[in-house]
Subunit: 241 residues, 2 copies
Amino acid sequence: MMEKYKFFDLPEFSTVKDILENERKNYVITLFGLCKILYAGRASSIATYSSRLITFKPDGSVLVHSNKKLKPVNWQPSSSEVKVELGDELKIYVERKRPKEVLEILMPIVYYLSLSKVDEGEFHLFGSESEMVEEVVKNPELISRDFIPLEREYQTPFGKIDLLGVTSTGYLVLEFKRAQAGLEAVSQLKRYVDYLSWKGEKVRGGIVAPSISKSALKLLKKYELEYFQLSPRLLSTIRLK
Amino acid sequence: MMEKYKFFDLPEFSTVKDILENERKNYVITLFGLCKILYAGRASSIATYSSRLITFKPDGSVLVHSNKKLKPVNWQPSSSEVKVELGDELKIYVERKRPKEVLEILMPIVYYLSLSKVDEGEFHLFGSESEMVEEVVKNPELISRDFIPLEREYQTPFGKIDLLGVTSTGYLVLEFKRAQAGLEAVSQLKRYVDYLSWKGEKVRGGIVAPSISKSALKLLKKYELEYFQLSPRLLSTIRLK
DNA sequence: GCCTAGGTCCCGTTG
DNA sequence: CAACGGGGCCTAGGC
């Protein structure tokens, strides 16, 4: 039977190698130690010797954390492969095939290593953009009295329209944002509207979002597009203290 | 003197509370245990009871990791505050002010707790978009024989132009991408070109990127914009094995 | 496999 | 402070 966790104080390099090679699929492995890190792939980077926390997950993802920020200093996404070489320093190579990328972790010392039986658990998120679209499909009058939704994720050669519908004046293209809409949202909408116009359709376009930035609103008007105020629905049983 | 790390097997809730309240600024603290997590803020979420790894960093960032993927299941960015309540379960509240968000971590059991003296270290990244712009500023002929760069990050009411310059035919707006350019890059460029056109300027626009998607290229031509092939320079001393 | 678009994006930077 | 845009973005979903 597998224990919930195991812990090794100042493990030998050979122990670390053995564990990384044989237990990586069963446990989340955390190393704490001095390390220097080289990354080469889509970009390249160097992180000088410093004590950091390194996490290896069963799916192949690897995270190297400093003492700040949410984002790891370096990382490798899932389905990466791990190889370990012994020597004066412990050398850990984490490779990914496509795109071809390598993370090279050099450790002169490992202070501790832990193995933890971490599970996945259930997870539910509320307040996404797609939930906003659903609400409008169910209650089209949230947009206007004469709005009739036709298709979600309507494919054009230049991207997917969140929700395409019609009103008495022709097509209406809607672009949804769960948070404040910015310039990018307007440009995106304009792209879809341009496409339908090029096809000779009579078409209007609108942003559906809880708010919109000032410059985005200005651009929206320049392009003769519209704004519909709508907020995502959060789970009311979760309360802010 | 502070130790490199400390480790507690099956710590009492009161110990966890004490450490989270008094050592959070000095160490990266990792909890491994059963937990249920409620999040409320920009969105809301529930993660059911499951064993997960929870990391608290000195700057206030908190990460809750499952056994998969790079992204934490739940998290809180830096400058969050931590409060702990004792009871049948350990209750950890992580709050952030703007935007107002709360993470509520309920733990019936903590298998282990560790404190690690993690440092920041130096970090250098090569191959960013801004390095590409620099290269073009130094070698404008990479774009064309008659291109003269005028201003980086040129401010318009509708966003910043990566590099604005002139050629014999008028202004040239350049939008850089360090990886393949997609539809969004074209829309972004179009927005800047539109602005200068509205001002009555004679203006061309171009994407500078290592590659461009087929549909993006099609849209680029529809909009009568141009494409210049250029790759970011990686650090050659870092080699792929 | 390519590619589009969302994300509790995070994050730095600038007005 | 608001807000724009980059990112080794990551990741899911379509074709």
